[in-house]
């Protein structure tokens, strides 16, 4: 009788411990799902405007914003590739040095670009248009492109009011953008008018990009079933379930990949092997911070709709430390199975390569002998790595199809190409 009682106590304790572990895992799961709406952005008065989003969607897919009319935002953020590009590093007009991140869920990030050089989504959207590695155009030509297209002009005007008289090439020269003599030759008011219109393009693109939320994944469906009290384990594979246990436990992924976006939204240096050992090391957040401080389109700047907002104040309070040099923003793991190659310079082609790196840290580069790394090799078995990978693959989910293409409402004419 005593033995039965003791066994009962043991079994009850074991069941209780198992239940506690499951409860902890469920609590952890619920901290990761669902994806909430992105935080508000008071610096963009058009962020929630459906009309601006439609206009922004049109701009996103429009190569007319590039110098030669052949590169659009969607070149490097391809909706068929979860808004990444499948390439090691970005290739616009020229080849860059940084991997193109997905923009699914980008509106959740407090810092934009992998080095955090922008503090709002609208200011991020403006960067590539004038970057010679990417779209290589100018703000003046971008605005002229809008003015020259009937649909774009109509939508812009309805949203933001009249455009500057960009057909006047004496006042608004071709290729005019800051740093170029054509720009310096322009009058201050004309410069202001162009920049104001240019900023509006960015704000419209943000309105569209805010809609690009990661879709419901198998993981989200399982978490929803927990909430519903069913905990339908069949919604994820057994391997994915085991992988989630590792993810939330021994793998330590949660140190940086936590919250609904599976990212702390901040910057870390994993001492990754460089893509090109002979090339200069990438400064990451170190340089990104300096660019942020000098940025024309800052959240607390004159082009912001709310320069005194909490968001703007927080962005201005960013700190730079020695640990930030060489660090890059923690990527979201949502849709990670679709967004290879991986890491800031596309160092790894596949997820299994990424996990193999974490497993051994082979090839890890210490820039200096006294550099310390918090990372420790996982030393997992192949089965455990496979389970982790299965879990990561359960994080894929597409946004609504209507957002994945150029809007159909169009007059059918191709936009004119900007003059060089």
């Amino acid at each position: 009788m005593c033995m039965i009682a003791a066994m009962t106590v043991c079994l009850t304790l074991a069941a209780s411990q198992t239940s506690d572990a499951a409860d902890r895992l469920h609590a952890m799961a619920k901290s990761l799902s669902p994806v909430p709406p992105p935080p508000t952005n008071p610096t963009n008065a058009f962020a929630l405007s459906p009309a601006a989003a439609l206009f922004g969607q049109r701009l996103f897919f429009d190569p007319g914003l590039s110098r030669a009319g052949d590169v659009s935002c969607s070149t490097c953020h391809d909706p068929t590739l979860a808004f990444a590009d499948g390439k090691q590093v970005a290739e616009g007009l020229n080849t860059g040095t940084i991997n193109s991140p997905t923009i699914l869920g980008a509106a959740h990030h407090r810092w934009l670009f992998l080095d955090g050089r922008a503090d709002t989504l609208w200011s991020q959207a403006l960067g590539p248009i004038e970057n010679d590695l990417e779209m290589g155009s100018s703000r003046t030509d971008a605005v002229r492109h809008i003015a020259g297209n009937e649909i774009l002009r109509a939508e812009y005007t309805a949203l933001f009011g009249p455009l500057p008289d960009v057909e006047n090439l004496d006042r608004f020269p071709v290729n005019a953008r800051p740093g170029r003599p054509q720009w310096e030759a322009m009058g201050t008011e004309d410069q202001h008018a162009i920049t104001s219109a240019f900023v509006n393009l960015g704000k419209a693109i943000e309105a569209y990009e805010r809609l690009l939320q990661p879709g419901h994944s198998d993981f989200d469906r399982w978490v929803a079933s927990i909430d519903a009290g069913t905990s339908s384990t069949e919604l994820m594979s057994p391997a994915a379930h085991r992988g989630f246990g590792l993810f939330a436990g021994d793998a330590g992924c949660r140190q940086c990949h936590f919250g609904p976006m599976f990212s702390d939204l901040e910057f870390h240096d994993l001492a990754l092997p460089p893509r090109d050992p002979a090339a200069a090391p990438l400064p990451g957040r170190g340089a990104g911070y300096e660019l942020l401080r000098k940025r024309e389109f800052a959240a607390d700047g004159i082009w912001s709709a709310a320069p005194g907002s909490t968001k703007a104040r927080r962005a201005a309070g960013a700190r730079i430390g020695p640990e930030h040099w060489g660090s890059f923003r923690t990527p979201s793991l949502r849709n990670v199975a679709k967004t290879g190659p991986y890491m800031h310079a596309g160092q790894f082609e596949t997820l299994s390569e990424v996990l193999a790196f974490y497993n051994t840290l082979d090839g890890q580069v210490r820039r200096h002998h006294h550099a310390e790394s918090v990372l420790q090799p996982l030393n997992f078995t192949p089965d455990q790595l496979a389970d982790l990978e299965a879990f990561l693959k359960a994080l894929s989910g597409d946004p609504p199809a209507i957002l994945l293409r150029k809007p159909r409402r169009s007059n059918g004419t191709e936009p004119p190409k900007s003059a060089e």
Binding site: P277, R367, H368, H369
Partner: protein, 594 residues
């Protein structure tokens, strides 16, 4: 291949290793010789100047005029200018080495100096890094004072390097601000480069600097590398060097570079006093090996300060700006904590020059010459029978301003904390407030270290001070000492005595840094024994920097150049070698233990 980190604007990287020149002694200063396009290297410890890098080069003995000289410049006429650091002045000599004159001198007048570390020249101008006064002094070439660029106007913090470029601009290695400045001759800043860190373009204690032919070269001491900048744009052109993987490794590996000279053809020669060598780099150099991106395990860069009390031994690691605390009552010393926030704000660690620990009251103090403060921590050590590493073991208790904070010695008695400030040649009784009391002590001319003697009998003097210039230990009958010197111990046979401690039998162990040896003297001055030789094996030493005696009467030597500590019996028998993460001992057998 030398690690060339940034060479975007350089078709031919210049950071290729050309040659290594060894056995040069404590070569803290190096300068181009305009008449020969060779370099001269100054041995700070012997006071000799070698007019070239080859073994056959002429050697000028300037030692009669100099003490610990750290700066060198040679005029177009061949006249030799030396920053005579230990005497707080500049001396100049004929090309043959005959002393002509000098300027400066100890004091706080505008033309006086405190431990000047560097000098550079143009045809008409001499600029001096007046390191201890945190300023740059401008003189006419003959020594007439022109003006100062005061540190408080541009925020200098112990500048150790200075160079004049062809535009007449002054480049400053602003050492404890971890940056390089370019200013005009009135102190207006033209360029400010860098911040504390390891990334190319950042610095950790920039030390030497030279400017020539459109380039500026900087020795980045704690990053063990050399960086080259464009003189006009201040853009980083190139950065090379990496800490040695193996002891004494050269051929492109760089170790604590102190100074650099640019030659007319663009080659760079650097001085590495730690390795007693110089290395030459240039476009015509050899590609010797792939970049070694940093070994694991070379992480015990113990700084030149140490203290022990009870079961604790503490030192600091300048590269991390952190303090290590070890438990000595283990089979091998066990690291209990590494703590300290790096930074320039109050309460953060800049550059420590002295440390002390009080085991009975769980206190650690450190003098921070970088941030001009003395910090006090409370420690919560684990019980002796349950030791464990705890990065949160120490909590900052107070951080008190200490305006004069150069190298020195920190001592605590039951009720007093005293700092012997070697730079100011003064002693301060530290208060809990900033109102410290300057106290009159017969410090001698170069008070490098002091001990409060163990109470082992009536014959023991209460305290002793080591004078680096006189090479003497002065024993005093009271502490704090009045001018009642009881006796002296001569250290004349030592090359560079830098620290000492007292064993339990009353004898003194003295560190001879340049001699790479430890000497033990009886209280009556008798030389009892000595041990150590230059090398990296167990029992050998490489530029030892500090010594303490623990409560087991074991002599712990901070073997600075080998990045480790070693423990000996007072008779010189080696007991063990240890670092932050490992130890070797023959007790019971030679083995590695964690």
């Amino acid at each position: 291949m030398i690690l060339v980190l940034v060479c975007a604007s350089q078709a031919d990287p210049i950071g290729l290793w050309v040659s290594t020149h060894e056995d040069l002694g404590g070569v803290h200063a190096i300068a181009a010789i305009p008449t020969t396009d060779e370099v001269a290297v100054l041995n700070a410890e012997s006071g000799t100047l070698r007019m070239g890098l080859s073994p056959e080069s002429e050697i000028l003995d300037l030692s009669r005029s100099l003490h610990q000289p750290l700066g060198l410049a040679i005029a177009a006429t061949g006249r030799i200018y030396v920053a005579d650091t230990g005497h707080h002045r500049v001396m100049y000599f004929t090309p043959e080495g005959a002393m002509i004159g000098g300027f400066g001198g100890a004091g706080d007048e505008p033309f006086q100096m405190q431990h000047p570390h560097a000098i550079d020249l143009s045809d008409a101008l001499a600029v001096v890094a007046d390191t201890g006064h945190n300023r740059i002094q401008l003189f006419q070439i003959g020594g007439q004072h022109i003006r100062n660029i005061e540190g408080d106007t541009i925020g200098l913090n112990r500048p150790e390097g200075v160079a004049l470029d062809a535009n007449g601009h002054i480049w400053i290695a602003d050492t404890q601000n971890h940056r390089v400045l370019c200013v005009d001759q009135h102190g207006d800043i033209i360029h400010a480069i860098g911040s504390w860190g390891t990334f190319p373009g950042q610095f950790m204690e920039p030390s030497g600097i030279d400017a020539k032919d459109g380039r500026v070269v900087v020795t980045d001491r704690l990053n063990h590398r050399v960086q080259i900048f464009d003189m006009e744009t201040a853009a980083l052109l190139e950065s090379w060097g990496m800490h040695a993987v193996y002891p004494r490794q050269g051929e492109g590996k760089v170790h604590y570079p102190a100074d650099a000279a640019l030659l007319s053809g663009g080659d760079v020669v650097i001085a590495e006093p730690f390795e007693e060598r110089a290395q030459r780099f240039g476009t015509g150099g050899a590609e010797i090996e792939p970049p070694s991106l940093g070994p694991r395990g070379v992480q015990s860069h113990f700084g030149p300060v140490a203290a022990t009390d009870g079961r604790f031994f503490c030192t600091w690691e300048p590269e991390l700006r952190a303090i290590h605390v070890f438990d000595l009552d283990r089979k091998t010393p066990l690291r209990l904590s590494t703590f300290g926030e790096p930074g320039e704000a109050a309460g953060q660690i800049g550059h420590l020059t002295a440390i002390d620990i009080d085991a009975a009251n769980n206190r650690i103090w450190a003098v921070d010459a970088g941030n001009h403060r003395i910090h006090e921590w409370t420690i919560s050590p684990p019980p002796p029978d349950k030791p464990r590493f705890d990065p949160g073991m120490a909590t900052l208790r107070r951080s008190v301003p200490l305006p004069i904070a150069g190298p020195g010695e920190l001592l605590h008695t039951n009720d007093k904390l005293i700092y012997l400030d070697q730079a100011g040649n003064t002693a301060w009784q530290i208060a809990g407030t900033s109102e410290h009391t300057e106290i009159e002590l017969p410090l001698g001319r170069d008070p490098r270290a002091a001990v409060l003697c163990e109470s082992t009998g009536n014959t023991q003097p209460p305290g002793a001070i080591l004078d680096g210039i006189d090479k003497t230990i002065h024993l005093y009958g009271s502490w704090p000492p009045a001018d009642n010197r009881a006796s002296t111990i001569s250290l004349a046979e030592l090359i560079d005595p830098v620290d000492f401690a007292q064993t339990h039998d009353g004898s003194f162990v003295v560190v001879d840094r340049s001699g790479h040896r430890i000497h033990r003297f009886g209280i009556d001055g008798t030389h009892l024994n000595a041990w150590g030789e230059r090398g990296s094996d167990h029992g050998q030493l490489w530029r030892p920097a500090a010594v303490v005696v623990d409560h087991h009467n074991r002599v712990i030597v901070l073997d600075h150049g080998n990045h480790r500590a070693q423990m000996f019996e007072p008779d010189g028998t080696w007991i063990m070698t240890f670092g932050a993460g490992r130890a070797w001992t023959r007790r019971p057998a030679l083995q590695e233990t964690d």
